[in-house]
Amino acid sequence: MTACPILNVQRLTKTYSTGAGELTVLKDISFVLPQSATCSILGPSGSGKTTLLGLCAGLDRPTSGSVLLNGIALGEAGEDERARIRNEHVGFVFQNFQLIPTLTALENVTVPMELRGDRTARALGLDLLRRVGLAERVDHYPAQLSGGEQQRVALARAFINRPKILFADEPTGNLDAETSGAVTEIMLELNRRAGTALVLVTHDPDVAGLTEKTIRLRNGESV
């Protein structure tokens, strides 16, 4: 029996109303991503990469088309239902790390599990931080960490809930080449080990080349 794809996007379109009229940032995008697969969304600035990622992750609603995340139709779910789905199935890594500044590294990592009331959060968080090489920094605040360290904390946070899919928006955009390589390697390693599908937004063809599938976007359309 074939498992359902982790992501099934059909004729996805997103249009915004602006003062100057309607603006279509995504037009008719369709693709399917099997479980545990890796995929990159490649395109120049303003091509709609982040918008596509946001729709796939359930952060926004499409104007038309559908997104099925692990078989769940995101378009039919309300805002809080989509939040629940994100908590259960999705991990995020952002270009600007997006750590909560008033939480320590460990507290940042455990947020997704604590939201579910899971009491094993602390132990698992410590283990993940050890695995990303930050065992000595668990009680440090983001302001006390370098960019690479913050991104590793973000990675640990993204994986703590054992998500089915990881969305990464230009995760190495603010890092130097060496750190970028290390972060990318961690993401791919975790994909191999845990079977987490990976959707990676990038403008770097070399990074895109590391994934199994590449979706190229230009002016909101798949090319």
Binding site: L59, A83, I100, T102
Partner: protein
């Protein structure tokens, strides 16, 4: 594993909201604490006032009997007649008698005179409470005879001491002691005419009470222990009233005192509530600024799966903690402060107030403060629930404003806020209508402040001074940049400015009234109680002292017997009567003349200056228009007066307006010449003195020859009025300081909340080449202009409202001096600059690189 959202309903998920609220507050606890102090002063005012009210109620209950010093007081404006004595005798023992009247006291040592209130006392009064004197035994000793107790302030004024002589009428007494307190009387009672107690047995020797002299005769009664006083009074009251006497009881005094104080509490509570509201507006603004800095955190939490309600709950918990801290601190401060009110109200309170801690005011104050804080914080919190998780990608993704406008929950919260404020106002007002008026006036005042502030800002933008220097232009432009707090700061500073300046200007209007009266050759001294055979002599003394006789008037005392065919005793007994009691019971002092004076103007009917009177004739009189309105009387209606035992029928021939503000003799009832010439009369003479020395010389000369003649000098009236207004103003000023204090706290916390934005601007400017001095100048310019705008708004409103008070309430002319306005504008602007610069410490000196690295907070 159980469905996580079922676990959401259990305590395990909600514990994360608590944890998140605590953790997230780490970097902002000091700021949140500062925000919470915004409501502290308002709550302190409410708790302080309520606690004081509780203590005072308790004191009144505990010391009730000492409010009048007896169980019953019966009073008359004429000596008790045999039928009066019969009734009084039936009341049992012990009793005490007192005769009260105004007269001149002479201090022979310093050769000075003063109008005093003489009380000739016989018996053991007060039966409850104590007469307090220095030395203490004087309260008992003076009753033996030949000695007097003198108001403490009078001894100080004339440098007199115990053992010195004081002359009352023809008799010289030795001062036995200084009177410091009488039961049931506030020390303010002695302001106009200080009290002097002499033994009743010495009264006749003073030769002061002559025919027509104005005096009050009192009988104090103490009932036997266990007597049901209320029941006895119920039986006695009709008999007392039938005899034309007045009476006072503990219950009546408690009611009167309670009613007078109730108005005071309500006023103070409303002023306290204004400062609480100001603080709450400050909290709302602070929460909004706080949430603006938490949008990224909120968006991250939403991305990670937190519900919108969960996100709002985190910050609601922080707000609640803030509210609790502020409310509790306010309650503690209020309890400590309740001891301040007895001290500042001392001269107006007739009892000692022990300070106690009452829990009800504390719980009530904390609850109100907490509820207000949450209510006002709800609108920005409710908007926060629409935070999109897309903000993790783009900061410009914002809340859908149209959805916000349509949000029914938000409108419900606004309605709750309005209902809450109105409800509180109604609870403090005498009637629902007045409460609604206050709430509406508050809304209008806030609207006016906001409108004027917006107008000023619009004016600045339209007529922007492009020719000014960069720092001034930058400071000015900062007033209307995005996320500015100009409106809030204008409201908070402007409201305090308005309250204090309005108070000052209104007081000046009242005082100016008296000061202008003494100018321009108008009368400024009254000599009264002049007997007919003394008239020529007194006039001669005045003229030989070089002073003019501006007016002379004979005064005949009489009582009102009937109005339009109905007896006044029947009208008094009617529970539905609309005529005030004092107009029915008072002793009318009337005069007769052929001409009207320049303070009078006929408004209806015809003035008749002389009649050829025969006993039994109906006399055409002229009545004051306001009294006529109270009597519902018109031209042609009949009134019957009892002129010292002789009934005289009168008809209203004309109605007059009287300028009561003028310092000369004015009368409710005016008789024509030809009727009262043979009635028992005393005279009043009105003159003008140029200097206080002339006034003292004249008074000494008159009293030396005619000890029964009394004098009222306008200068001493102005001084007394000034001192009373000062004391009243102090109370209002103390309460207004709560509003000013709340305004300063809101100013500080608001400036502090914008600190990060200022920091970023400063770093950018310094990166582009601005010096630290330039940054400071920009900040100074911004705060100075802000203070100027705020004070301008408050000043405009204060001038308009004090003008309205002068014109429509006091009915006085209005010509304020520009100095208070200029001083206010300068002070508020300077204060804003000082507070603003303190709150912006470090903005100009943090290294830019440090900020570029730091996480935004």
């Amino acid at each position: 594993m159980a469905n996580p959202y079922e676990r959401l309903r259990s305590g395990m998920i909600s514990s994360f909201v608590w944890k998140m609220a605590w953790r997230d507050s780490r970097s902002s606890r000091r700021r949140l604490l500062l925000f919470s102090i915004s409501i502290t002063l308002g709550i302190a005012a409410l708790v302080g006032i309520e606690s004081f009210r509780h203590s005072l109620s308790q004191a009144i209950d505990d010391q009730a009997r000492s409010l009048i010093g007896a169980d019953l007081v019966v009073e008359s404006t004429r000596p008790f007649r045999p039928e009066d004595e019969a009734l009084l005798h039936s009341l049992g023992e012990p009793q005490a008698r007192e005769v009260r009247f105004s007269s001149m006291a002479v201090f022979p040592r310093s050769d000075s005179t003063r109008l005093v209130h003489v009380r000739a006392l016989g018996g053991e009064f007060p039966f409850y409470g104590a007469m307090e004197t220095v030395p203490a035994p004087a309260a008992r000793d003076f009753r033996a005879g030949g000695r007097a107790l003198v108001e403490e302030s009078l001894l100080l004024q004339f440098h007199a001491q115990v053992g010195d002589p004081i002359k009352i009428g023809d008799l010289e007494f030795t001062i036995a002691g200084a009177l410091t307190k009488m039961p049931g009387e506030a020390s303010a009672a002695g302001s106009f005419a200080p009290r002097v107690y002499i033994p009743l047995q010495n009264l006749a020797e003073t030769n002061l009470l002559k025919t027509g002299s104005i005096a009050h005769y009192r009988d104090y009664v103490k009932f036997a222990e266990g007597t049901d006083v209320g029941q006895r009074i119920e039986i006695l009251a009709p008999q007392v009233q039938r005899l034309g006497l007045e009476y006072d009881t503990v219950a009546k005094r408690k009611r009167d005192l309670g009613s007078a104080l109730e108005n005071l509490y309500r006023f103070l509570n409303l002023v306290g509530f204004v400062s609480l509201l100001l603080g709450a507006v400050g909290v709302a603004s602070a929460i909004q600024a706080h949430l603006q800095q938490k949008t990224r955190t909120g968006a991250i939490l939403r991305c990670l799966g937190m519900s919108s309600h969960g996100t709002v709950l985190v910050y609601l918990l922080q707000t609640a903690a803030m509210g609790l801290v502020g409310a509790t601190t306010g309650a503690v401060l209020g309890v400590a402060m309740q001891s301040v009110f007895p001290r500042i109200l001392k001269t107006f309170l007739p009892l000692a107030i022990p300070t106690t801690i009452a829990w009800e005011p504390i719980i009530r104050g904390v609850s109100i403060g907490f509820a207000i804080c949450i209510l006002f914080a709800l609108p920005p919190l409710l908007r926060f629930r629409r935070l999109s998780p897309l903000r993790v990608f783009r900061a410009e993704v914002d809340v859908e404003t149209s959805a916000t406008r349509r949000d029914p929950v938000l409108w419900l919260v606004y309605a709750l806020i309005v209902a809450g404020v109105t409800g509180f106002a109604i609870s403090q007002a005498e009637t629902v209508t007045r409460g609604l008026i206050f709430a509406a006036a508050l809304g209008v005042a806030v609207g006016i402040f906001a409108g004027v502030a917006k107008l000023l800002i619009a004016g600045v933008r339209k007529f922007f001074p492009h020719g000014w220097s960069f720092v001034l232009r930058q400071g000015l432009a900062n007033l209307y940049r995005p996320n500015n707090r100009t409106l809030l700061l204008t409201l908070s500073l402007g409201l305090g400015t308005f309250l204090l300046l309005n108070l000052y200007l209104s007081r000046e209007v009242l005082l100016a009234q008296f000061q202008s009266v003494g100018a321009k050759n108008q009368a400024n001294i009254f000599l009264f109680d002049i007997q007919p055979d003394q008239k020529t002599g007194v006039t001669e003394i005045v003229r030989s002292a070089g002073m003019p006789v501006i007016q002379e008037a004979p005064i005949v005392t009489m009582r009102l017997l009937e109005i339009k065919g109905r007896k006044t005793v029947d009208i008094l007994a009617d529970p539905k009567r609309k005529i005030p009691e004092w107009e029915l019971q008072r002793e009318y002092r009337c005069t007769y003349r052929e001409e009207l004076s320049d303070t009078e103007k006929i408004t209806e009917g015809r003035w008749i200056g002389r009649v050829d009177y025969h006993p039994g004739d109906t006399v055409p009189i002229s009545l004051d228009g306001e009294i006529a309105k109270d009597f519902s009387a018109k031209i042609g209606d009949e009134l019957i007066f009892d002129v010292q035992g002789v009934p005289i029928k009168t008809t209203i021939a004309s109605l007059r307006t009287v300028d009561w503000k003028r310092f000369q003799t004015n009368f409710f009832v005016l008789f024509p010449a030809g009727v009262l010439e043979s009635a028992p009369t005393f005279n009043v003479l009105v003159s003008r003195v140029q200097t206080p020395a002339d006034s003292a010389k004249l008074q000494n000369a008159v009293v030396a020859k005619y000890p029964n003649v009394s004098a009222i000098d306008l200068t001493s009236v102005i001084q007394t009025v000034d001192s009373i207004l000062d004391k009243v103003a102090l109370v209002i000023r103390v309460m207004s300081l709560f509003t000013v204090g709340a305004g300063i706290i809101v100013l500080t916390s608001t400036i502090w909340s914008g600190r990060y934005q200022r920091l970023q601007e400063s770093i950018l400017l310094r990166t582009l080449g601005a010096s630290r001095a330039q940054i400071w100048k920009i900040l100074c310019a911004e705060y100075f202009l802000l203070g100027l705008f705020a004070s301008a708004t408050g000043i405009i409103l204060a001038v308009v409202s004090s003008w309205a008070l002068a014109k429509f309430v006091f009915k006085l002319s209005y010509a304020p001096s520009p100095w208070p306005v200029l001083v206010t504008a300068a002070s508020v602007s300077l204060l804003t600059v000082v507070v603003g610069l303190i709150a912006s410490r470090g903005v100009a000196s943090r290294p830019p690189l440090e900020i570029l690295r730091a996480e935004a907070e």
